[in-house]
C-alpha cells in the first residue's frame, strides 16, 4: 500500500511549533491537546514582540487552561468552543499588521477552521505554523454525495450521509479541511479490503 517515496502534494505537513525569530507580533491559537504544544512553545523562550494567545478548552480530558494561565503572561483568551475562537479571530485580525506570525495547534479540523477564518485577512495557510495534536483522525469528503464525515480512523470509512464505503485518500482540500473519500466497492459491491485503523 505505502510505497517508498509515495507522496501526494496536497497532503498537509505538520511540524512542531517554534517561534519565528523575525516578527513584529505573534498569534498562538490552540485547542485541547494543542494546549500542551502552546506550553512547550512558551517554554522555549518568551518573544520580545507582543503575543496574543487563544485557547479553546472544551475537551475536559485535555484541558491545559490552568497551566497556560501560569505560563502566558499577557493577552490570553480562554474560549469554550471553536465558534468562539473563530469569532474572536475575526474581531482581532483587522487590528494586526504585516509581521504578525501565526501558530496553530490542535486537531486537524481545528487547524483548518483557523486557517479558513484568517484567510479573508490575506493570510495564506502556508504562512501559518501548524502542529497536529491528539488524534490523526481524518475528516472525509465523500466525492459522491459531497457530505463530510468526521473522525475517521480507518483506511476505509462509511459516509455519514449516503453510507457508501469510502477509501480514504491522501488528497486534501484546504478549503474543506477534509480528505477525499472514494467509493471502494463500486465495481464489486460488498467486496471490501480489510479495514484497519491507520489514523489513530
Amino acid at each position: 500500500m505505502m510505497e517508498r517515496g509515495y507522496w501526494i502534494k496536497s497532503k498537509p505537513i505538520y511540524t512542531s511549533l517554534v517561534w519565528h525569530e523575525k516578527a513584529t507580533s505573534h498569534l498562538v491559537v490552540a485547542q485541547g491537546q494543542g494546549g500542551l504544544a502552546a506550553i512547550k512553545l512558551f517554554q522555549q523562550m518568551h518573544p520580545q514582540q507582543p503575543v496574543t494567545t487563544l485557547y479553546e478548552h472544551s475537551d475536559i480530558d485535555a484541558n491545559f487552561a490552568i497551566t497556560l494561565k501560569k505560563v502566558v503572561p499577557e493577552d490570553l483568551h480562554l474560549l469554550k468552543s471553536e465558534q468562539e475562537v473563530v469569532s474572536l479571530l475575526k474581531r482581532i485580525m483587522p487590528t494586526k499588521r504585516m509581521g504578525l506570525r501565526i501558530y496553530v495547534a490542535g486537531s486537524e479540523g481545528f487547524i483548518w477552521a483557523v486557517a479558513e477564518a484568517v484567510k479573508e485577512f490575506g493570510i495564506e495557510d502556508a504562512d501559518i505554523m501548524k502542529e497536529l495534536t491528539g488524534t490523526l483522525a481524518r475528516s472525509i469528503y465523500c466525492v459522491h454525495c459531497k457530505a463530510i464525515t468526521h473522525n475517521i480512523t480507518t483506511n476505509i470509512g462509511k459516509c455519514s450521509s449516503c453510507e457508501r464505503m469510502l477509501f480514504v485518500r491522501d488528497h486534501f482540500s484546504r478549503h474543506l479541511g477534509a480528505y477525499m473519500g472514494l467509493m471502494v466497492d463500486a465495481e464489486s459491491p460488498g467486496q471490501l479490503p480489510e479495514i484497519e485503523e491507520i489514523y489513530p
Partner: protein, 317 residues
C-alpha cells in the same frame, strides 16, 4: 527558440540616460498578450556577435499593437545598452522573444507596495496598468537620482495619481524602508526592482520585520560580468570551447553552434541550468537562482551569468 520578428516603430529620449523603444510586429499583426511584470529578450547583432538582453515590457498588457521597453545606457557594460542607444533607429527590424513573466503580481494580495529605483521603474509600468484594471490597492514608491533622471514621472502621476510617491536623491529625499514596511495591513505584498543595493535593503528589511517570504518579490536581471577567459568541455557535443573575457558561457556555447535552453539570460529564471560533471577549479556563481548549498556543491551552473576559473569544466551538454 522561436522569436518574434518586430520593427522599431519609435525611439524617444526620455532622460539623459534612458531611451524608450516601441516595437510593432513586422507583418502588422497584433503582438502576443502578456501580464504585468513580463519581459522580452532582445537580440542584437553587434559586430557579428549576438547579444541578447532582457528588458521589461512597459506598456499596458491590454494594448498589444505595440511593445514598449526602456533602456538605460550603461557605460561600463558589454555593449548591449550602448548598441540600443546608438545604433537602433526607427524602421530597423529587431528580433525579440515571446514575453515571459518572472515578476508577476500576487493576485490574492490585499495590497501591493511597489518600490522602484531608477530604471527599475519599467516592470511596474505594466503592473500598474493591471492593478488599475483590477481596482487593487497599491502604492508606487519611486526613487531616482535627480529631477532630470526621473523617467516617466508625468505618465505615472496620471496613472497612479495620489498612489505615487517620489524620492529625489539630489533634493535629499530618502525612502525610509523600515517605516514603509513596518506599518502595512495583513495581506500586503512588496515588490522591488532597482539597483542591487536597494533590492538587498528591501529584502532584508521585509524579512527582519517578519514578512513571509511569499510576500516579498524582486526582479534583478544581471548582465553577464566580464572576467578571465576560461575553457569548457561539453560532454554530449564532445567539443571544447573557449569562453572569452567579455562573453558569457551561454553566448560562447551558442556561438559554437550548440543549442542551449534559456529564458531570462539574467541569472533569475533557472532555465539555462547545466549539470557540472567534472571541474578542477572554482565556479564563480553570479546568479540569483541556485541556493547557497547548491552553489557550494559545484554540481550546477547557470551559464548565462556565471563563470569558472579552472582548466577543466565538463558540462552535461
Amino acid at each position: 527558440m522561436s522569436m518574434i520578428n518586430a520593427i522599431v516603430a519609435a525611439v524617444e529620449q526620455v532622460t539623459p540616460l534612458v531611451k524608450h523603444f516601441t516595437f510593432v510586429k513586422e507583418d502588422g499583426s497584433k503582438l502576443p498578450p502578456f501580464s504585468g511584470g513580463s519581459h522580452v529578450v532582445v537580440s542584437m547583432d553587434i559586430g557579428g556577435r549576438v547579444h541578447r538582453n532582457p528588458y521589461s515590457l512597459m506598456g499596458s498588457p491590454e494594448a498589444t499593437d505595440a511593445y514598449h521597453i526602456s533602456v538605460r545606457k550603461q557605460e561600463n557594460s558589454r555593449g548591449g545598452s550602448v548598441f540600443m542607444h546608438e545604433h537602433v533607429t526607427v524602421g530597423m527590424p529587431i528580433k525579440i522573444t515571446y514575453p515571459v513573466n518572472l515578476f508577476s503580481l500576487a493576485k490574492k494580495g490585499h495590497k501591493h507596495i511597489l518600490i522602484a529605483g531608477g530604471i527599475g521603474i519599467t516592470p511596474f509600468m505594466s503592473q500598474i496598468a493591471d492593478l488599475n484594471r483590477l481596482g487593487a490597492d497599491y502604492e508606487m514608491h519611486y526613487a531616482f537620482r535627480s529631477p532630470e533622471h526621473g523617467a516617466f514621472v508625468e505618465q505615472l502621476k496620471k496613472s497612479c495619481s495620489s498612489r505615487l510617491h517620489c524620492y529625489i536623491d539630489s533634493q535629499g529625499e530618502q525612502l525610509d524602508f523600515k517605516a514603509l514596511l513596518g506599518d502595512q495591513p495583513l495581506g500586503t505584498h512588496v515588490y522591488v526592482c532597482g539597483p542591487s543595493s536597494m533590492v538587498t535593503v528591501v529584502l532584508e528589511t521585509a524579512r527582519n520585520l517578519g514578512w513571509p517570504e511569499r510576500h516579498i518579490h524582486n526582479e534583478q536581471f544581471l548582465s553577464p560580468p566580464v572576467g578571465e577567459p576560461f575553457n569548457i568541455q561539453l560532454a554530449k557535443s564532445n567539443i571544447e570551447i573557449q569562453v572569452p573575457a567579455d562573453m558569457s558561457m551561454l553566448e560562447a556555447i551558442e556561438a559554437a553552434g550548440v543549442e542551449a535552453d534559456y529564458l531570462c539570460r539574467g541569472g533569475v529564471c533557472g532555465r539555462c541550468e547545466l549539470q557540472v560533471l567534472e571541474t578542477d577549479g572554482a565556479i564563480l556563481h553570479n546568479d540569483h537562482f541556485l541556493t547557497d548549498s547548491e552553489k557550494v556543491s559545484c554540481k550546477k551552473i547557470m551559464p548565462c551569468v556565471s563563470r569558472a576559473n579552472g582548466k577543466r569544466l565538463l558540462l552535461d551538454l
